[in-house]
Each structure stands twice: as structure tokens, then as C-alpha cells.
């Protein structure tokens, strides 16, 4: 085995990096792969809580980097999904506790034992981001269809390409097809036109994400979650499967479309 290291980043905070990392890690494990997720957001850890593993933390990434434990001891094995592991971030340190070189060393140690290493990047362009991107073979950019998120994503894409970690691929998150139809939200094509990178997938806005975070069960593990389905599809695409984009069009009747026209006065 030799793992592919995928870093999930965005620039903008709150657009869904941690949710995506949790769900893609679980999604890949559900397809039989050996996956380790690493939370690189030192000081503000969240991947543990989104994955529902917060009560199992004994050692974390910083302990492993500083030699206070063996790397295996910092790995939490998910009991629900075979092949899924988490290395949590430290909560009481900050991004300076780890260097980009440390991250490369950690990933090199993990590569022989895993199919995928997914790294949850913090927001921003500073040390935490640099740490997260240093070991990457592939970079996934998460954005929402909003002006500030897309602008920040553009900056990140530029930095990723300048550091020869490109080409990055895009996930458009929290799309609301009803708002797109009303002309109140950018759609996926608008975002791709502007950012000009390849699209990996689209995830619709879905309340089930909040519920799944409340419960600590990634949405991919739920049958009735549209967002979960989208993340399962993206996991498949990461494995090279040819999965068409979900139909995210909100159904409209002829009458609705006429009244939309009238409303634009």
C-alpha cells in the first residue's frame, strides 16, 4: 500500500472542510479502504467531534510530533467502520507546535499502511494551512456559492498552484437549488467559470448535516441524507469511479416559473 495524501482546504472558515474530511474519510472506508484522517487545526480541533470520537482521545498529533508517544498511540480506531482512523489535533497548543516538515515526516510514516490520508486544514493562509498542504499529493478546495468564499478559494488556488501542489479540485458545498432558481444564489457553473478548476462534486445544503454533527455520526453513514449521498458520490469519484452529479434542481411547476417572472418587477 502507498497512501494518497489529500488535503482539504478552503481559505474561508466555516464552509465545510471538517464536515467534508469526516464524510470523505468515512465514505472511503465504507468502500473498503484503509483511511486515516488528520486534524491539522491545532488549537481549535473539531474533526474529533464531527466524527464522534472526542471521548477516545488519549494522545494527539502534537504528542506524536514531539515524541511523547508513538504515532500508532495517537491514532483512534473508529469502531463503527473498519479501516477508519483519526489522529486528532491538540487543543491546548497552537499551529506553531508543528512544522510543515513534521507533517511530511508523519505522512511518510503512515503511507505504507494506508490507502488514503486525509488532512483537515484550518482556515487561513498561515502556518496551519502550510502545515496541512506540505505533505499533499492532491488538494481539494471547498467553497460555498457565496462571494467571500469564492474569493478566498481563488486566493488559495493561486497559492496551491504557486507551491506546485496543483491542479486542485473543487467541491461546491451548501448549494441551495431553490435560491439558484430564484436568481438569489450563484450556481455551480458560475463558480467554476470564475475559479476555472476541475469540479469534483457538489453537496446540497442539508439540515441532516447539523443532525449528524449533533450525534457524531458522519452523514455518509445515514441513508436518508442528501448531503451524505453527495459525499458518498465524491468518495467514489476519488476512487476513479464515474459517478454523475446528483440532480440538484429544485422541481418547479410551470405556474411557479411564470410567477417568478412576474415577481421580478
Amino acid at each position: 500500500m502507498s497512501a494518497t495524501v489529500i488535503t482539504i482546504t478552503s481559505g474561508k472558515g466555516g464552509v465545510g472542510k471538517t464536515t467534508a474530511t469526516a464524510n470523505l474519510s468515512a465514505g472511503l472506508a465504507m468502500q473498503g479502504k484503509q483511511v486515516v484522517a488528520i486534524d491539522a487545526d491545532i488549537g481549535l480541533r473539531n474533526l474529533d467531534v464531527v466524527m464522534g470520537l472526542e471521548n477516545r482521545i488519549v494522545y494527539d498529533l502534537v504528542h506524536a510530533v514531539e515524541g511523547a508517544c508513538r504515532l500508532r498511540q495517537a491514532m483512534i480506531k473508529d469502531k463503527r467502520l473498519e479501516g477508519l482512523y483519526l489522529i486528532p489535533a491538540a487543543q491546548s497548543r497552537d499551529k506553531t507546535a508543528v512544522s510543515p516538515e513534521d507533517m511530511v515526516t508523519i505522512c511518510d510514516q503512515l503511507r505504507p499502511d494506508f490507502d488514503f490520508i486525509l488532512i483537515d486544514s484550518p482556515a487561513g493562509i498561515e502556518q496551519g494551512f502550510k502545515n496541512a498542504v506540505a505533505p499533499a499529493d492532491q488538494v481539494l478546495i471547498i467553497t460555498t456559492p457565496e462571494v467571500s468564499a469564492v474569493r478566498d478559494a481563488d486566493r488559495i488556488i493561486g497559492i496551491v498552484e504557486a507551491n506546485e501542489k496543483g491542479p486542485a479540485r473543487l467541491i461546491v458545498n451548501r448549494l441551495r437549488p431553490d435560491m439558484v432558481q430564484r436568481g438569489d444564489m450563484l450556481d455551480t457553473n458560475d463558480v467554476i467559470d470564475v475559479l476555472a478548476i476541475d469540479l469534483l462534486g457538489v453537496v446540497p445544503e442539508d439540515e441532516s448535516i447539523i443532525v449528524s454533527t449533533n450525534q457524531g455520526v458522519p452523514a455518509v453513514m445515514e441513508n436518508n441524507s442528501r448531503a451524505g449521498q453527495a459525499f458518498r458520490n465524491i468518495s467514489g469519484r476519488l476512487l476513479g469511479q464515474d459517478i454523475p452529479l446528483m440532480d440538484t434542481q429544485a422541481p418547479t411547476s410551470w405556474l411557479e416559473r411564470v410567477s417568478q417572472l412576474m415577481r421580478r418587477q
Partner: protein
């Protein structure tokens, strides 16, 4: 009578269209790190350099940054009136 405008296809742009236009403009600036003020300075300097060689119609000159894929381009469209008047 704004419904007439709708009938003839003239309507206010949706917030989605506004957002896309604004994004395209702001990203062009972000990518080359150039404010509108700096662009004007660039334009003024271009006028003075080119005017040393040919006479140009500075008022109808256009200097723009455009994007294709992730490649930025600076385009100067300059009407040339004739040789430099000695």
C-alpha cells in the same frame, strides 16, 4: 409600467448576476494585486510612453485586465491617429 420592461426583456439583474460580475472584477484585481487607482496610473504612464512614438487618441483608449482559465491578460486597445506630430 415596469411589466412592459419585463415583456421586452429589460429587467434588473438578479443578485446572482450581480454577484458573478462583482466576483469576476474583484478577482482580476486580486490576482494581479492592482487597485483601480494603480490601473489608472499604469494607463497614464502607458499614454506618455506611447505618445513618444505615435499620436494616439488617449480618450478612446482602453486598458483592461481579463481572465481566461486562470491566465490573466493585460490588454491595451489604443486608437492611433498618425505619426507623432513633430
Amino acid at each position: 409600467m415596469s411589466w412592459l420592461n419585463t415583456l421586452f426583456g429589460r429587467r434588473e439583474p438578479s443578485s446572482r448576476e450581480v454577484a458573478k460580475n462583482r466576483l469576476q472584477l474583484v478577482l482580476v484585481q486580486d490576482r494581479v494585486n492592482m487597485s483601480p487607482h494603480l490601473l489608472q496610473t499604469l494607463k497614464d504612464e502607458l499614454i506618455s510612453v506611447i505618445s513618444k512614438y505615435v499620436e494616439i487618441d488617449a480618450h478612446n483608449m482602453e486598458v483592461t485586465f481579463t481572465q481566461s482559465k486562470r491566465q490573466s491578460r493585460l490588454t491595451a486597445d489604443i486608437p492611433v491617429i498618425g505619426p507623432r506630430s513633430e
